[in-house]
């Protein structure tokens, strides 16, 4: 028992004691005591109501937090899925871009990309040499072994031309059995050397079909860009050199005039 309820018990006992029934302080004390008890009840009530308000506010806050967390989770999920869709589109774009600039059979840059590279180098006025390369008697391969063998031969030539190339050099599939080689920053003497090395490497790379090795060779028409020469002029000279190589018996490198 604490002091407060001690004194309450004492006052209640004094008020109930008949010995003090006529004491002049009894009535005012009884009144004061009733008021005191009323105050205590008020205080209890206020405390209870206040507690309930506090609980309700807390519940509301936690339900808000819960809803906010749910929304955050949803937004994160939307963002995550959306990001993945975007990266899917980006990859698709890259694939389409690659497909539109590369040859499906050989994997080499196609005519469009080869021409655009050559045009860019010439627009920047870079010194360079090029070669148009043609597979000798390609029609005979097709006729004797079939188109599939022809495709294999083209793939083998493409590999033989591409694999030895350095970083800035390029070989593109120019047409049916024709390729374009670009050597930036390369003079005629070095280009001839490169071309001879590639030409002599081709036959060893050829596949065998039904036990018969394809004896395929290639001819080169080589040209070094002259000052002020346009893309078309340069290509025409390389093409003329290629014809000259064919006329001279094939499997050789001819330099443009």
């Amino acid at each position: 028992m604490n002091a407060a309820s001690d004194s309450e018990a004492r006052i209640e006992a004094l008020l109930a004691d008949p010995a003090y029934a006529d004491h002049p302080l009894r009535e005012p004390l009884a009144q004061l005591y009733r008021q005191f008890q009323e105050q205590i009840r008020h205080l209890d009530r206020i405390t209870r109501i206040s507690d309930r308000y506090q609980n309700a506010a807390q519940r509301e806050a936690s339900s808000l937090t819960e809803r906010l967390n749910k929304h955050l989770k949803q937004v994160e999920k939307i963002a995550r899925i959306s990001d993945r869709y975007q990266s899917m589109l980006q990859d698709l774009n890259k694939r389409l871009e690659h497909e539109s600039t590369h040859d499906t059979l050989t994997g080499l840059p196609n005519r469009r990309l080869g021409l655009s590279r050559l045009s860019a180098l010439i627009a920047a006025d870079q010194p360079l040499s090029i070669a148009l390369v043609d597979v000798d008697h390609f029609k005979r391969v097709n006729d004797a072994f079939g188109h599939e063998a022809g495709d294999q031969a083209l793939t083998a030539v493409a590999r033989a031309l591409r694999d030895p190339l350095g970083g800035t050099e390029m070989v593109a599939r120019w047409g049916g059995e024709e390729f374009l080689l670009i050597w930036p920053q390369t003079d005629l003497a070095s280009a001839i050397e490169h071309a001879q090395a590639l030409r002599s490497a081709v036959p060893a790379q050829m596949p065998s079909i039904d036990g018969r090795i394809l004896r395929t060779t290639v001819s080169f028409g080589l040209a070094q860009r002259r000052d002020g020469e346009s893309v078309n002029q340069l290509l025409r000279r390389a093409d003329a050199a290629l014809y000259a190589a064919k006329d001279a018996g094939r499997d050789r490198v001819m330099v443009a005039k």
Binding site: Q74, I78, I81, S82, R84, Y85, M88, L89, D91
Partner: protein
């Protein structure tokens, strides 16, 4: 229930909602300017259909979805999930081109957190 048919375009899917059989079918890409306008009738149709029907199958052949379409799809799935928890027989079948595995991965992302039957099925 009347059927709901929305013709597709390059940026919106073809949408067909039929009462008999109880089915929602969406096919194509979805990157409309306002996905809410496009899908709101679908959501309303689904809610009305589920008010009377015990089953609903959603067949999806969606490829690309923009952000607002992703959000709406989650709302559609939430509606189905509620019906599922309510004891209705709802099923989602998400078909994808077997050559594009990434669509399946994205369908998996949608499926996460859902308890209704959600099948991701390769085609071709």
């Amino acid at each position: 229930m009347t059927d709901l048919k929305i013709a597709g375009s390059t940026s919106t899917p073809t949408i067909q909602c039929t009462a008999q059989p109880s089915r929602v079918h969406m096919k194509g890409d979805s990157y409309p300017e306002n996905a809410f306008d496009l899908f709101q009738p679908v959501l309303q149709w689904m809610e009305a259909q589920l008010a009377s029907a015990d089953t609903l199958t959603m067949d999806l052949e969606l490829v690309y979805l923009n952000t607002s379409s992703v959000r709406i799809m989650m709302d559609l799935f939430d509606t189905l999930e509620e019906a599922h928890k309510d004891g209705r027989k709802v099923i989602v079948n998400w078909y994808y081109d077997a050559r594009n595995e990434r669509v399946a991965e994205l369908a998996e992302e949608f499926k996460e957190d859902l308890t209704l039957p959600f099948h991701i099925l390769p085609q071709g």
